[in-house]
Subunit: 666 residues, 2 copies
């Protein structure tokens, strides 16, 4: 059986840097050579340089330093900072902890793997402080081996309700640590069946082992909790967070859990959402629920991450007053300041659910006294499911760069989640991951760029989409300059192309219900999920202005005024905020309907161009990688054509307005 790919930690011989004498002597300062992370760093360095350059470095250790005690988010950033100094015949790594040293090693290895000159890259001392304290992956893996919204095979953590630990577990830790991930939630936020028993004897031994492996790469172990555990496994009749019996049960349970899994760093909880139990069931607030658990785990130095994905998923489609987009804000803003300091609210980037285009959640910039973590999704649930290529880093850059106007300075989303804006106790960024047990980890080989890129961006938010794309391509696909350029071009345009042939102008949701792959313009229009386009003969879009649901006003000024006014609202979000006639003229100078026709024809044409570009690279690429992506492009083109034709036909049939360019619409 063929082995799984090593991706960017699969070191292969390189041309450059073979004569770089500095690589022969590496000095590591800041942590003990006996630390397990340092040991992993040393063997990673030695294995990598040997494989890539046939160099066996002499590694020596300077001062061990004193590890920084972590009591808040910035402490994590301080600890994980590193510097690399180039001397004539040595490279000196200054870490403030073993993790810093590990990240420095991966920095050096990346430089070599990208065929960049060590002399040039480190000509000036390079210092990197991680942009975010928590850089986390969320696995939606179920213990039966299935993965909710997984498009890359089955879980590599679980088979038949057992935890599997093998060589791949360690390689997974290497892969993600090498791009700066320092936290992993190992099970689905929808905790049920066997997963409810993860906090029992049945799984403690394996979880402890897993935690040790992660800890060796500076990765904290997190689990999702079933909020109703007191009932489902505790035998109580309540999960009321203010009930003394409930609190007592959790205290005892947590004492047991942290004793058995000493590396455990905390829990992620989805409560009162899409059928999950939660504090609302007992007339309590979300803060009541989160604080109860947080107070209990505090003595173990652990945190509670509480998801803000709370909305009414049984909306009546006839009801035009209720607005799902408001739900997160309305549910969580009133309690701002009530959450204890080891609680973090985890906030999806948009107010809906990972559509290809959404405004930024108004909770980001709305909450001012609460620890916040941004949640993005690299599992391509709504963005092509790792069949269609969709490089998401440009989107994440936009999200992170969004000015919320929540303070005079440092008001971007990146600032908020870095902890800078509000001097947060804890903060960071999480991605719902796109991995599975496919041999290439992410289904579509190019989807690996999102896993790689998410980590890189979380660690160094100032990196550009281009830099990250180039690193990914050079480290995992090819060093051929023309091919690198061509693949980068595919990656960099892919998100916009996907947006063009799917949902126009920020409207979203025109997807096949349940599976979320493929077009169904009315698929959710008469359903209970709060996801409507409200298209009729004359126009389309949701009025979220002060005359509609008022959602636009949840933003700080001047954003609120901008979104509230169709003349100021950016084109790409105009139908999210406004119900407009098809004849409305956009900033682009096109009418809404002509924009729909044009972008859909163009998006499909561009998808064909991308596929043709990939085909042209056949002779330059590894045969398996080539074929993996080629086969997916084949499916992407079928999908893109359906989207293009269905959306155009739908709106032509509904509006009766012909395409100005007379193209074929059915």
């Amino acid at each position: 059986m063929k082995d799984y790919a090593k991706l960017w930690v699969g070191y292969t011989p390189k041309k450059n840097n073979r004569d770089c004498s500095a690589l022969s002597r590496i000095v590591m300062n800041g942590a003990s050579e006996n630390d397990r992370i340092v040991k992993n760093a040393v063997s990673e360095l030695k294995d990598g340089l040997k494989a890539m350059l046939d160099i066996v470095p002499d590694v020596t250790f300077g001062m061990a330093g004193t590890d920084i005690k972590v009591t808040k988010g910035a402490d994590i950033q301080d600890r994980e900072e590193y510097s690399i100094t180039l001397n004539t015949d040595s490279l000196v790594i200054d870490g403030k902890s073993a993790s810093g040293i590990l990240y420095a090693v991966f920095d050096i290895l990346r430089t070599v793997a990208c065929e960049k000159s060590i002399e040039k890259v480190y000509a000036v001392k390079k210092t990197v402080r991680p942009s975010n304290p928590l850089r986390m992956l969320n696995h939606w893996d179920n213990m039966d081996g299935s993965i909710e919204r997984g498009y890359s095979g089955k879980s590599f953590f679980y088979v038949d309700n057992e935890i599997v630990i093998d060589e791949r577990t360690k390689d997974y830790a290497r892969l993600i640590a090498s791009v700066g991930i320092n936290a992993v939630v190992i099970n689905n936020v929808n905790v049920k069946d066997a997963a409810s028993y993860m906090i029992t004897d049945r799984y403690f031994d394996k979880l402890a082992q897993l935690g040790e492996i992660f800890a060796g790469y500076g990765i904290g172990l997190y689990m999702c909790l079933n909020y109703a555990s007191t009932i489902e496994i505790g035998g109580l009749d309540s999960a009321d967070p203010l009930d003394e019996k409930v609190i007592g049960w959790w205290k005892e349970k947590m004492a047991e859990v942290f004793a058995k899994i000493p590396t455990l760093k905390g829990f992620l909880v989805k409560a009162d959402s899409e059928g999950r139990p939660g504090p609302f069931t007992y007339g309590r607030t979300q803060a009541d629920g989160a604080n109860m658990l947080a107070d209990i785990v505090k003595e173990y130095g652990a945190i509670i991450i509480w998801r803000c994905f709370v909305y009414n998923c049984k909306q009546d489609w006839r009801d035009k007053k209720t607005d799902r987009a408001r739900a997160g804000y309305d549910n969580f803003i009133p309690m701002d300041g009530d959450y204890h300091d080891n609680v973090i609210l985890q906030i999806k980037n948009g107010p809906m659910d990972f559509q290809i285009r959404e405004p930024i959640s108004p909770l980001l910039g709305g909450l001012k006294k609460t620890n916040q973590m941004l949640e993005v999704q690299i599992a391509q649930e709504y963005t092509g499911q790792q069949i269609d290529v969709c490089y998401l880093i440009p989107e994440f850059k936009e999200i992170l760069g969004f000015k919320t106007y929540c303070s005079e300075n440092d008001d971007t989303v990146a600032d908020i989640i870095s902890g800078k804006t509000f001097n947060s106790r804890y903060s960071g960024i999480a991605a719902v991951t796109n991995t599975g047990n496919d041999l290439n980890w992410t289904g579509n080989y190019l989807a690996g760029a999102n896993l790689f890129g998410f980590g890189r961006l979380a660690f160094e938010t100032e990196l550009s989409s281009e830099q990250i794309a180039e690193e990914f391509v050079r480290m995992t696909i090819t060093q051929d300059d023309a091919a690198v350029k061509a693949i980068m071009d595919i990656l960099l345009r892919s998100r916009e192309v996907y947006e063009r042939y799917t949902c126009p102008l920020g409207i979203g949701w025109m997807v096949t219900p349940a599976t979320h792959y493929g077009c169904s313009v009315d698929g959710y229009e008469y359903d209970r999920w709060g996801t409507y386009h409200r298209a009729d003969h004359l126009g389309i879009g949701v009025d979220r202005t002060d005359k509609g649901t008022g959602y636009a006003l949840l933003y700080n000024e001047p954003n609120a005024s901008m979104y509230n006014d169709p003349e100021k609202c950016p084109d790409e979000l105009v139908l999210f905020f406004h119900h407009l006639p098809y004849t409305h003229v956009l900033h682009s100078g096109k009418t809404v309907i002509q924009h729909i026709y044009d972008t859909h024809f163009e998006g499909y044409a561009e998808a064909k161009e991308m596929a043709a570009t990939w085909d042209s690279l056949k002779d330059k690429l590894d045969a398996e990688i080539y074929e993996n992506v080629r086969e997916r492009f084949e499916r992407q083109l079928v999908n893109a054509r359906e989207w293009c034709d269905q959306v155009n036909s739908y709106f032509f049939r509904k509006s009766g307005i012909p395409d100005e360019k007379g193209r074929e619409i059915w």
Copy 2:
């Protein structure tokens, strides 16, 4: 555990006929008292009269007669005919076979159970000759216990890939024999998994036992075949019907099968349809496939029933030339006359697939030299799934009464399938059954009326929908005259009500994909199934005239001209045949759009009336029956409201034309 309902063979004490002396002495002529069917008839008669009237009849036997040898369909009808003659102190049954006697017994028991006077009903000698030779139920039961399109629990034939034979098996035979069913196909037409092995040693013993039980009630056993058996279980590399190896394998297999299951009467085959293998795979005709099998089973007196449900299920929705409605005709008419005389083509009532309103299949009246059987569906796949009440007998009456103009006289569908029109060798009517292991057999108790009614109608096509409804209600629910009338009213209007709140004017298919329950106007509009409404801003409907797909011209005149002309086409089918503007005025005087609005509001309102009627009967009905139907009405109203509002909103939003009556449309 509560026992399953005995429905119309659960005899309970009756008031009338207690003094009827004729019931004390029953004379049976025409078959031997040692015949197993006669024995069942006698015990049925004695049990029934004892339970209902406390009468223990003296049963005597006259001449045994000579059983008629069956070589063609009419022979079956001759054999199964019976007469009942009332003498002063006896009832004389004249059968021409044991089956005739059995049916006469059920006739008498039905009269008693309905509280009708024996003296009056049989005042004049009553002779009944079954309207159709074959009166068949098709079970879509899978061997894992699931039922395709089953809405009444699991299979009572199969559990975990084993055949189950118990008391219920016999009661099932009693239930269906009592309404005149004489043939049952026991497995799903989509033959796969374990069902492919029904013609192997693994199941022969149980099948033989099952066949014996059926035979005791005059019911022939039929099975569905996997057309690719030669490959799937035979180890050959072909299923080409002209391949000698294939023919040889089937000859040997059939010799074995009929030796092991002597009661077996034949096979039903779905080939080349929806992914099933068939002769087309080998460039052969449907006749080649059917004849090959028919020739082989002929020596066992068996028949091959070949389904005509062959169409392209991978149509491109952009393709407006291909018309699924034409497929049956185009595939089967060219071979008319080529089918051997023990082949029957089984033809769905409409050209599409059991929508609430379709025209009659043009194969009925098109085929003139081929044995034909009509297929209807009492499993309410598209007609409310035994949640919504939908009494289908009025629809079946319309179908059977349809004049095809295929001959000077005797040209109705009923005439054709009775064998009269073309003096067919074999013919009849089959229903996809609605049964399962629910305690009441059919999910919704009122859905029992379709099982009961189908059998009654197949046996005596001249019965009215009212007569059948009354028999069902009196035999299974109540004798209270006011309640009988109220329930009959619910049943008799239910189909029209369902049609009103669902798919207007014959358009069909506005259902949730895959499940087929609930509304999704565009659910199949951009899909591959050939099921489109083609609605745009100006109009709706499929042009199947001479200017469109030409489907209308497949009918005999004057039907072809009628359907081809929107001014002559009946309103209820006008959108099936024509693409019309919303402003087109129907024969009713209403525009298409106003018809849509009116019928949907009315249909929902009428559903509420029916539910209210049922509620009003609470005190008069058995509590379990009442609650069973009440709970389903509750769900029906949710469904009806969604249909009403979604269809109206969809067309209002698309057409922009307001409701004349200003009712609320979202």
